[in-house]
Amino acid sequence: MFIQPLLWLVIFGAGFGLRFTIPGLSYQQVIFPGIVGQTLLFTSMFMGISVLWDKEFGFMKEILVSPVSRFTIFLGKMVGDSTSSFLQGIMVFVIGIAIGISIDPITVIYALPIMVLITFGLVSIGLTIASLIGTLESFGAIQTFINLPLFFLSGALFPLKGPGISLPSWLTTVAAWNPLTYGVDALRNVILGTAWTPALQIQPLWIDIGIVALFDVIMMAIGTWAFGRMK
């Protein structure tokens, strides 16, 4: 899991940075919050597999017949898996600073709660899918099918709006419905500070956070429902 963010930041960042012009920002700086988001996305979705392992080894049965509400079970699973995913996200900061991307280390402190919020919703997607699908093979296939569109349509690799940026309207429309768009935008708001000007922002920080939090609540409700159906 170290390698992937490193490749994106170093190789992709260097290659695509050639033609990138936003005053006061390097391309690596711009995609850095995007790669944090991407790492959270991929690891969180992957964590859904823990449900499948628990089922596979029969341990889930012990939990499901216990007098504990489905919401509590879901919450426990979500917080547990989010922890691992969250730690992976922090590793991206370490990598980013290590390879010399100019980010203010203090911004990490502001980014952490946002990362937690993003992780909750994404882990919930992974858990919901895993509990509905039930087999490892199908889970792997569906996971890829969801991961890549969410990633590419989140603005993680390019700004979705700003001076001189004109993207096809279908792309911006789809991106506007992608919860990760707001997660990445929130991260950029805090990590890049004033350099991420209102002209580049999708939404002001508090609206970004509101949307991500709303998404979390919806996903947790869906996840609890999905756990209730699990056998």
Partner: protein, 329 residues
Amino acid sequence: MPHVIETHQLTKSYGLLKAVDKLDISVESGEIFGLLGPNGAGKTTVISMLCTILKPTSGTATVNGFDIVKDANKVRKSIGIVFQEPSVDDRLTGKENLYMHANLYGVPASEQKDRINRVLKLVELEDRADDLLRTYSGGMRRRLEIGRGLIHYPKVLFLDEPTVGLDPQTRDHIWKYIRELKETEDITVVLTTHYMDEADRLSDRIAIMDHGKIVILDSPPNLKETLEGDVVAVKANNISALSDLVTKSLGFEKKQIVDGALEITVRNGKAAMPRIMELATQNNIYVESIVLREPNLEDVFLHYTGRTIREDSGKELHGMAAIQRRAIK
């Protein structure tokens, strides 16, 4: 409460297949109730419904007085379960698994330590309590699971095929625990099995299940009784003479000659044997051998279903899951 479990027309269908078909059973408080039948008879489905894992298609059931659908959470609090397949976390130690269970069932923190130590003692795992589950043998895991099911003082303990896949010594060991449980704890045990001897040795009452229905329900001695007694097989130098004599003098009507031996079906074989011997001696018939065969549950099963218990052990869901699981490992 006389009946700790009651089902009324309990049914579970999968499409056209009726896994459990209008089941009516009552389990008395404090008994060991055996559900016996071949694989695929619907035993596990019954248990799953009573444990609130599956919802019935129709019909109702109560466990400890609580409805399995409406009061599912209260049912869950009243029961302990040992599943057919292992359900422990093998990356935790024995003790950690038990603590986890105690927490899930809301056992007060002040009591947890005592209860866990007591259970570990009962299943004789005190010395291995701090070892990771992955270092346990199959029998030890089973014992831990049985112990785990008792931590929250359940009213009913469900054991789904508790000894399947275990070696004979371990099976014996586990049977011993189950019998001890009945003596020492205030608990009702519902046991499913496809082993005849297991059902015979453990159960107070046995329900024989086949194709989702109860074929017959009674105590093991009564079930054997329905077969109209024992078989005494006699080999002698003059079989036809002996055959006539037992009917004339002793009044035994049911008999046949199989492989040169006279097989007489009698109510009480032990009492009949000396009388047959006496009769033969008085009439100068030399008896080569005399064998008593008491009916076992296998005969009972055969009698009621028309086939032996193992011949029809077709594919069941667990089979597929087991294969997939092996593939992943």
